[in-house]
């Protein structure tokens, strides 16, 4: 009898629910792929998505404070060409690792959860946050208060400031996890707002935009603007039209220079400001370019196209000069600085384009092909560390140029 009830319920559900879906269509799928390829040139910060939704404006930035001069981590190149394994295990902490965010090669945050952290219906969850300051070798549990039920995410700004989005509340620490404060989802603290903006607090949104919980208002206007989340309006707006839902992106380099990209049709235009938005300079549009990537120090800017015919353009002065090609099956590209690009493959694997040639990283070849449906997302952390997200695993490439020590954290 119970099975009959269940079968009948599912059969009715399938018919009734099936009729309610309106497939966006193949053309929309193609458009989404194009947009994603444009975005891949930028670091995918959460605000980007928060502000814009899947197809709109977003801000992406090198997270954390501007890079502080520090010694390059004293890790020798990967011994024997092997990847160093670091398993994140916290004795006595319930649940499994569900979130991992590094802000530089040494500092990162981890979320352990007894629930599926993706599940908005999760209940009775026991959640623990830990912090590392030695590249994931050791972890310290922080004083996270009891987190609300529902989905949970980590949103770090740097090694001291972290927002945990849990259910309908933000739990925020600005002292490395010693203490937390709590605020409702529609009333984020200044620290949370800053965590969702570029390092100096810039976003692209409607003039009435109030904060990250203000998604609809942030998109409901004829024209968006470059704003500072906690400061007066900019005296000068960039000389481009920023339509809500348009294909544009804002990022900030480690040197504080702002980069705004606007795509119209097949043309990508970059507008830049090196005085925090006081004045703007429009660079020549490039037909066929999809996205912009800027090195962590802000000194090396590239336009990239990863779909056929793929290509790159490097900024020289105020001109884009054609650069070397990237492999046919390139998934993402990030500028590492000094003319070097980090390139991940749609089918796994990672390499560098340097001196006009692509060079594979052999020790990552198998590691990034273990799950054929995962694709390696690549980005640069503010201190020049290469970050690869691959399914639930994260890789850090520590060092300079193409000489890297690779660490797998899981």
């Amino acid at each position: 009898m119970p099975d009959t009830v269940i079968e009948k319920s599912f059969a009715e559900f399938e018919v009734a629910a099936g009729a309610t879906f309106r497939p966006p269509g193949v053309a929309e799928a193609q458009r989404r792929i194009r947009v994603r390829r444009r975005r891949r040139g930028l670091l995918a910060g959460l605000l980007a998505l928060l502000l814009a939704g899947p197809a709109g404006t977003y801000a992406a930035a090198h997270r954390g404070d501007p890079p502080v001069p520090r010694p390059i981590p004293t890790v020798s190149p990967t011994p024997g060409g092997k990847v160093i394994e670091r398993k994140i295990a916290l004795p006595g902490v319930p649940g499994g690792l569900t979130g991992l965010q590094f802000v530089d090669s040494r500092t990162g945050w981890a979320l352990f959860d007894t629930c599926d952290s993706n599940d908005p219906m999760a209940r009775g969850c026991r959640r623990t946050v830990a912090r590392t300051t030695d590249g994931g070798t050791t972890w310290t549990v922080v004083a996270l208060p009891e987190a609300p039920d529902g989905a949970a995410y980590l949103l770090p700004r740097d090694g001291r400031t972290l927002t945990v989005v849990a259910g309908r509340r933000y739990l925020v620490t600005v002292d490395g996890g010693a203490t937390f404060s709590s605020s409702p989802l529609d009333s984020p603290s200044a620290a949370t707002r800053r965590a969702m903006a570029t390092p100096n607090g810039f976003v692209v949104a409607c003039p009435s935009f109030l904060g990250p919980g203000d998604g609809a208002r942030g998109k409901s206007c004829d024209r968006q603007q470059v704003l500072r989340v906690d400061d007066d309006p900019l005296p000068q707006q960039p000389p481009v039209t920023l339509r809500p839902g348009g294909e544009h992106a804002l990022m900030e380099g480690g040197d504080g220079r702002l980069w705004l990209t606007v795509t119209e049709g097949d043309r990508l235009t970059v507008v830049t400001s090196d005085d925090r938005g006081a004045t703007w300079r429009k660079l020549p549009a490039v037909v066929g370019a999809r996205s912009l990537t800027v090195s962590p120090d802000g000194m090396d800017a590239w336009l990239v196209r990863t779909d056929a015919p793929n290509g790159t353009w490097r900024l020289a002065g105020d001109r884009w000069q054609p650069g070397p090609g990237v492999p046919d099956e390139t998934y993402e590209v990030a500028a590492a600085g000094d003319g070097i690009l980090v390139v991940s493959s749609r089918y796994g694997g990672l390499g560098f384009v340097a001196d006009g040639r692509y060079v594979d990283v052999p020790e990552l070849r198998d590691a990034l092909r273990s799950n054929p449906d995962d694709q390696p997302a690549v980005a640069m952390l503010p201190d020049g560390t290469v970050q690869i997200r691959y399914g639930g695993t994260q890789f850090l490439g520590i060092g300079r140029g193409v000489e890297r020590t690779w660490i797998r954290l899981s």
């Binding site: 119970p2 099936g18 309610t20 966006p24 193949v26 993706n118």
Partner: protein, 176 residues
């Protein structure tokens, strides 16, 4: 959950499936599965579209599989249970804070969604894969990376809980 190897060797001597035709034939079925699992209509539609995007990006290879729809189903489910979804969920969640609410689903659909929502995620996933994706125990085990005995246990417990919920809901409706 991770997606294991592809859904079979490339077909030999078979004409590749047209993507548009493939999309039309399979979108609804996969979206319904995710809706039942997530309880979120918009999210289910978006994740299904994303899974088809990933298939489209690799269509030259996937179209040669024996069952390309199995690839999309696995990717869609992977997305629904993966960490990558967290950002997307947060986006959608926050963006809705000031958006107007739209009319909810019909009551009969709500009943099943509510009943499924009280199940642990593992049981809910197994139940949906069995009753909506029509996968066998072995196929579910392969997809979710669990032992067949574990899947049987999930199905058994899930069915018992679900039947209780649905019967209770039906009784309440009658009393009302």
């Amino acid at each position: 959950m991770t997606v294991r190897q592809q859904t079979g060797p490339p077909r030999s001597g078979t004409a590749p499936v047209d993507f548009t035709e493939f999309y039309r034939a399979h979108f609804h079925r996969i979206a319904v599965q995710l809706y039942a699992y997530l309880g979120d209509h918009a999210e289910a539609q978006d994740l299904t579209q994303e899974a088809f995007c990933r298939a489209l990006e690799r269509w030259s290879r996937i179209s040669g599989y024996d069952d390309p729809s199995a690839f999309v189903r696995r990717v869609a489910w992977n997305l629904a249970t993966s960490r990558l979804r967290r950002m997307r969920t947060a986006v959608r969640h926050l963006a809705r804070q000031r958006e107007e609410h739209v009319p909810g689903p019909e009551p009969d659909r709500v009943a099943l969604i509510r009943a499924l929502a009280v199940l642990p995620a593992t049981q809910r996933r197994a139940i949906v894969l069995h009753h909506l994706a029509h996968l066998s125990v072995g196929e579910i085990a392969e997809q979710v990376g669990a032992a067949e005995g574990t899947v049987r246990s999930w199905l058994s417990r899930g069915r018992a809980a679900l039947a209780g919920q649905l019967t209770e809901t039906g009784s309440e409706a009658h009393r009302a």
